[in-house]
Symmetry: D2
Subunit: 336 residues, 4 copies
């Protein structure tokens, strides 16, 4: 159950509300985000809501029976819109495109990609500087210095940055150079990281786990929200199945399901999802047709020479075509 | 390796070819379909093809290194088109829509659906009369009498029939009343059934197995093709994964992958794929965006009262919208 | 709900029982096996059983809420014992070992294996003559002539035969030469085959599907039982998962779960389960430790030259050790 | 490739070795563990090893072609033994039993369990104080104060502690109160945590990921080893599959496979693996039969009242029986 408190509720009134709820033997969690103030009450909610709902200081009250609460569409039916400033939004009814290399490489290459994206109206650039790698001997990214360079290049072109944060201690050092923190598929259930991102006032995109369920993704988002950060984006990136003809099994079923269960925007990553360059575009189109709010994909001026993930990375020409077609399809969808 | 023989090759010449190949220690399979004559040669094909290719009576010769041969795009790059007569085609570059109830029920209901489909330009009706059911105590369909009724209703409206065949002995009794034989997901590897369908001159749609791989689907198609029947259609219908928020995991990755590996048309079944009525349309749209040649889906005048699968069945209004939107999306795709 | 009728109940009395049940709006299935007579009633069973239970002609009555009925342990707690004659039993509290090559090859080889098994006290030999193969170009077994040879060799050594039946039409031709019909993993949900095997009076071993659930395996057994054949054996043979370091994922969890849910004996196939020769023994031992009633495994005098599945096939020495150790472990388990 | 350096090699000699290797264009990683000094060389190793192997200061040199190096059995065939002091070993050829509640609760309960374990000869107690939970609203454990209490109780009884560490910052605060750090299934690929545990001189048990492959588990262990810590234990705890009759699918195939691929000890967790109290013992027995070095399982004086995981937790009587039986089975296995 979610009890949304009025802005500026007095401590006195709030205590009264809490006392009333405690009498119902509910477990109470006080959630103060950058935008609102809620009490999440866990437990049996089969009493008459009017007993509480009429109290002064309560703006609204909702019973949510899902395994998650604040990210559920059951209490907030309006879609969440996330502003990155400068007129750049995610979830506002436009198509969000996020593109860039798997790993950030040198400044010249970064500059070339950023300029290309700006020219094509793509205003969010992706690129890893901290890379999770199965083997300790693989390239792990340029680190914080790479991020600073990445940031200064992007700012010049009016482009926002999304990049992966892998551990709690990186949040502070990355903070000034990041527009959207990305939680990778191996960290979807890194609960300490989610807790800390709840304290941050920048948007967080959470990828579905390697074999994470839709409900687990929503529960992970609930961690960040209940930690205080409402600026959340969900990302489908493919799940692990027995099938080996694709790198992962991009699960587009999750798109309408997530849009139905949650008010948060849903982005799809076809690059990791199918993992085969030639098929990134059809999967991107399919994602838009299924109702996604945006696409995040890997591209590079010379995919064959990319530091990582070249086999699923588009070149400029392929990128231009993907952008044009996803936008045309999105326009058709929006006309319905 | 596929050796395509010229039409009307003499036995004498054919024997010469076979002898040449046998000398290479290849395993040879003589495949005579309704349309063509091939020899499939399995084994080491690292010799100089010109030794054989110049022989009289050989039209063409192709090395195929896949685990399947005749269904591979490596030797036949042109897409296979299947004619159902009366100007109805599958795989000819138009969008094929196949719709109807899970199970055929009484004549009146069948008539209502058939008329509705005809009015909306849908010219292939689906409907089961032999139903595979996990439990022996569930409704198993109307059987052959139901099929005869289904057929006579559809013929009146100029509509073609696709329906599931479950075992070898049904092929003969069903033959006169079927336009497309459907092999269900539990029979994808029923090799005896596939063998027999190779002897039939009517099209066969093969569903991907409950947890079948893309390669297994193609190998199952290879059974039918090498048995003599080239009129094949592949169908993605969702795979079994750990995820429980959808009935199955409709795997749209398979669409571009199958289109790349094979010359056969690819149809998608969003109804079984996601299994939730409200999400059938977005998945149908996604399938078209991913490159599918058509959609097969479940609809009924009163889904709530359907004999089976009501939870994933569209009503008439929803069907009309799905038809209109998939066509609009298909038109956009075709314009590229 | 299962209503067990008394042997020799009169038609008159039976009709009375049926009428009583029909009045409750239950769906009734009359099941007459070689051993017993039951009525399976599907539907709401929340009425007072005493209304029916006191009727003459009813031996016993049980409410079973599982998705399967007659194979459930809820109505029959005593384990099912299956006699193959000559003092050979499955499920009687002894350890059943079944061994032999993947495919039956020539008579000499068959003779060598049969003699070896007899000398080691293994009294059931496995071996395929109809082989389900993913590719139509692979070796498909010796067929019915191979079976006749296999049978005559085994009879000489007092050994029973278990072999796979792939389609309905094979049942009759195989009948005289088979002691246990095996339903393979690709046919677990070949419902027509299961129906027909219900009419046979020889035991049937059903393998779990390629990605079949425990409940589906039990429902498939229910098909055969409700068709009239109580002589059923369940077989765990590994499931399909994302893991590629083993051929399949032998799921030993299913052993205690099946033993708890059903009164039928449970056999484990470690050869297909893990698919790696060196690890067949540890998995066989683990299966016995988990509570299996027996083991079915692949062995051959020269695994390297076996017609199929050599990579998971034991030689004679390895077989001797596996037999000795599984028996020692089974003795320890029996002592508890 | 692993180049094991002699203890006390001079910097000068080491540089010579490095120069030789660098000339081969290999990527070199200098690994100094508490026990040994290695250079791991990644890249093409198809040159004549004698060019390097004869150099002074090199103790041994091994080509390892796996995706992991130092944890491979290809260079170190002797099993790794881990001492916890006081004559307590893991991997020394004895059966290691680790038992205790899911979550550490109050001191009295902890004391009762510890005493019971000591009386039964179980010398390692498990119990969580930092609990990873899907939902932010679930009980997350007693934290560091709980650990201190847990530690002081165990030390009194001569019992060692294994408990989960969830994030880097916990390592230091937990260090003095932990004998074995456990990395949970959601953190198997938390690479920063693995890096840091490489710097610790206490043993680390790594659980296989929720849907982690065997190779990924070994690569995660490689992270810790290459970070400097050789005291590693692998743990099979069940994987995620489509099957819902068990909580997870305990994959005992991994036991012989891991023992074959790696020199590290392998422990099995049947409690999380199957997740059903009645079946924990058969799966524990199966694990020992499959070759496991030990078992870690959940038990509690009153499972029905446990703070978490009660449904898979054994009581004292069940624990006593599991201990007696796994030991008897282990003795039988050791006699072979």
């Amino acid at each position: 159950m979610i009890i949304q408190l009025e802005a500026g509720i007095s401590n006195d009134r709030k205590d009264k509300v809490l006392n009333q709820l405690q009498a119902k033997k509910l477990k109470l969690v006080d959630v103060k985000t950058q935008l609102n103030h809620y009490i999440v009450a866990i437990g049996k909610t089969d009493f008459d809501l009017r007993q509480i709902g009429h109290l002064d200081g309560i703006e609204d009250i909702h019973v949510v029976t899902d395994t998650y609460q604040l990210v559920s569409k059951k209490w907030k039916t309006a879609p969440t819109q996330i502003s990155l400033g400068d007129g750049i939004f995610i979830g506002d009814g436009s198509l969000s495109l996020m593109a860039g290399p798997c790993s950030i490489e040198d400044e010249e290459k970064t500059e070339t990609v950023a300029r290309f994206l700006a020219e094509n109206g793509v205003r969010i650039m992706r690129g890893g500087v901290f890379k999770p790698r199965s083997s300790p001997y693989s390239f792990r990214g340029l680190g914080i210095e790479g991020l600073k360079m990445f940031y200064s290049v992007c700012r010049k072109h009016g482009i926002r940055i999304i990049t992966e944060v892998m551990q709690v201690s990186q949040i502070v050092e990355m903070y000034d150079y990041v527009d959207v923190f990305q939680v990778g598929a191996r960290n979807t259930q890194n609960f300490n990281l989610l807790d800390e991102l709840g304290k941050v006032d920048k948007p967080v995109l959470i990828k579905r786990g390697i074999s994470g369920s839709v409900d687990e993704l929503l529960q992970s988002a609930e961690y960040v929200f209940s930690g205080g950060n409402e600026k959340l984006i969900l990302c489908e990136r493919g799940i692990r199945t027995y099938e080996t003809s694709s790198r992962n099994t991009l699960d587009l079923n999750s798109v309408p399901i997530l849009k139905d269960k949650s008010h948060l925007p849903v982005i799809v990553d076809p690059s990791h999802g199918i993992g085969i360059r030639d098929f990134v575009e059809p999967m991107a189109l399919a994602a838009v047709a299924a109702g996604a709010d945006g696409i995040i994909f890997e591209m590079h001026q010379e995919p064959e020479k990319a530091a990582s993930d070249g086999a699923q990375t588009l070149n400029f020409e392929e990128t231009t075509q993907l952008i044009r077609r996803t936008r045309a399809l999105f326009d058709l969808r929006s006309s319905w």
